[in-house]
């Protein structure tokens, strides 16, 4: 403890540390019955940190060429000391992060934290969600196993169906007309450089906005607080709330370790581009609901290609979702019900379609 005080005063004398950390020290978090949802953002950030660190470690041994990618992952899993741990944690944390990101988004939606003045926080958050999905899609290919190869093939093919720009987009993604080693290199560059850069930038913006506007109160709590303010008490962020966050992070670490040791991420078989696609090819769970929807759509709807309709619908839904705060408008009550309705529908649809996708094989 003495050392910490010593270091602190050293830094303070040069950088006015006290002034810098002032806003953070004053930051408070409202405590009410729905406060637990406030943890989700922090957990997602923590998992992102895990991804960056395990990713960096994996970078020391991974080789992004079609010839060596699979073997390098095999090498990490079998020869590198604790390579199995790092790799399994990276794969599991990726899934966990996407899950908590979705949960965070839905909780913000249902707790109506996107309302004025937090519209841009929502927008930056949605972009972050898309980036996180991009991480998932690009990272999935990197072990270059059969499942990954064909999942990427199908995924990029669907992108190619987008009207007008679809084919160009697909070629850009694949680095060519087909999924090849060029695709792998491209996805690798995106996964370890492009997306991390963008994500870091957006995280800074997102956190700055959160810091600026503080934590929002859910409408129900807000109303109650107007009547009896004692319902809501403020907890200091430093150290109280942060300590609780750290507890949550520790739990996450424990879960990750357990997953790595009990359910290690599989290696699969090396992909053979000229081989037949194995039966039951499907994307990872976070894309399953879209995939299953596309499979269910009839081949033609009012003369238009069914798959196209599906893609456009999802595109439209995505756009609407990003612009949600603006669409709610001023009629808060009415708009709120609409948004909540849409949120419930979306959540149910995603969950149902995901489950259906897994059961219908």
């Amino acid at each position: 403890m003495q050392i910490i005080t010593h270091v602190r005063s050293w830094v303070d004398a040069r950088f006015d540390w006290a002034k810098l950390t002032e806003p953070l020290r004053h930051k408070t978090v409202p405590i009410h019955r729905l406060s637990y949802w406030y943890f989700l953002g922090g957990i997602t950030l923590f998992l992102f940190g895990i991804q960056v660190s395990t990713g960096l470690l994996l970078l020391l041994y991974y080789r992004p060429s079609a010839n060596e990618a699979f073997e390098s992952v095999q090498y990490i899993m079998t020869r590198v000391q604790f390579g199995w741990l790092i790799r399994s944690i990276h794969s599991w944390a990726a899934n966990l992060m996407i899950f908590t990101a979705f949960l965070h988004m839905f909780s913000v939606l249902f707790l109506r934290a996107y309302r004025k003045p937090r519209e841009l926080t929502w927008v930056s958050g949605m972009i972050l969600l898309f980036l996180v999905l991009g991480f998932g899609f690009s990272g999935y290919l990197l072990p270059w196993n059969t499942l990954a190869f064909f999942a990427t093939k199908v995924g990029t093919e669907i992108t190619g169906q987008v009207p007008v720009i679809g084919h160009t987009l697909m070629v850009l993604m694949r680095g060519g007309e087909e999924v090849t080693g060029a695709t792998l290199t491209r996805f690798f560059g995106v996964h370890v450089a492009v997306l991390p850069g963008l994500t870091a930038f957006l995280i800074v913006i997102h956190l700055a906005l959160v810091q600026k506007f503080g934590m929002s109160l859910p409408p129900g709590v807000e109303a109650t607080a107007k009547v009896s303010p004692a319902v809501v008490r403020q907890m200091k962020f430093l150290p109280n709330f942060l300590l609780r966050e750290v507890m949550a992070w520790y739990v996450a670490l424990g879960v990750l370790g357990a997953l790595a040791a009990w359910l290690p991420w599989e290696l699969g078989t090396k992909s053979d581009p000229f081989g037949a696609a194995p039966a039951g090819i499907r994307p990872e769970w976070y894309f399953m609901f879209m995939f299953q929807s596309l499979k269910l759509i009839p081949s033609k709807i009012w003369g238009i290609d069914g798959e196209l309709v599906g893609i456009l619908t999802f595109g439209l839904a995505g756009a609407v979702w990003v612009l949600l705060p603006f669409l709610e408008g001023n009629r808060e009550k009415r708009g709120g019900t609409l948004v909540r309705g849409a949120g419930v529908f979306a959540l149910c649809y995603i969950v149902a379609m995901t489950i259906y996708g897994y059961m219908a094989k």
Binding site: N67, E68, L85, Y250
Partner: protein
């Protein structure tokens, strides 16, 4: 709210908490850092073995001798002719996958399963094998015999 606990208990309690927290954090951090440090140090076998492998040491093979070793996920055959030339080919027979062997008496590579023969460069010479054996590049690096896949067109 602020109930004064009796003085003697609180410092002990505080000490316990400090120990638990400090000790726990320290131990858990060590349990995170230790694997990472081990991870960073390169394993005994520095390479993957798919494109390049050390098949043996110079002097290990006698003239007109051979050995089968692992290259990637398949066996490969390294042989040394009486004149001192190294050859290396895949040891998986192209007929039905048996492991071939070098026959010093026939000066050919032979498959015991159905009497298929290959030349030292892997070319299928007689018997059932429909295709040559894949040939690999042999280089001597110091005292090591290094096998690599042939590159180029």
């Amino acid at each position: 709210m602020a109930i004064e606990d009796s003085q003697p208990v609180r410092p002990a309690r505080r000490r316990l908490v400090e120990i638990l927290l400090g000790g726990g954090m320290f131990a858990s951090v060590v349990s995170f850092v230790y694997p990472v440090l081990r991870y960073l140090s390169p394993p005994a076998v520095p390479d993957l073995g798919e494109d390049e492998v050390v098949a043996g040491k110079v002097g290990e093979l006698k003239p007109n001798g051979s050995k089968v070793f692992r290259f990637g996920s398949r066996p490969a055959l390294l042989l040394l002719t009486a004149e001192g030339e190294y050859h290396c080919v895949s040891a998986v027979c192209t007929h039905l996958g048996c492991t071939v062997q070098y026959r010093g008496d026939m000066l050919e590579i032979w498959c015991a399963c159905h009497n298929g023969t290959y030349g030292l460069d892997g070319r299928n010479v007689s018997g059932p094998p429909p295709r040559p054996l894949e040939a690999f590049q042999v280089n001597v690096r110091g005292s090591e015999i290094v096998i690599t896949r042939k590159r180029g067109a």
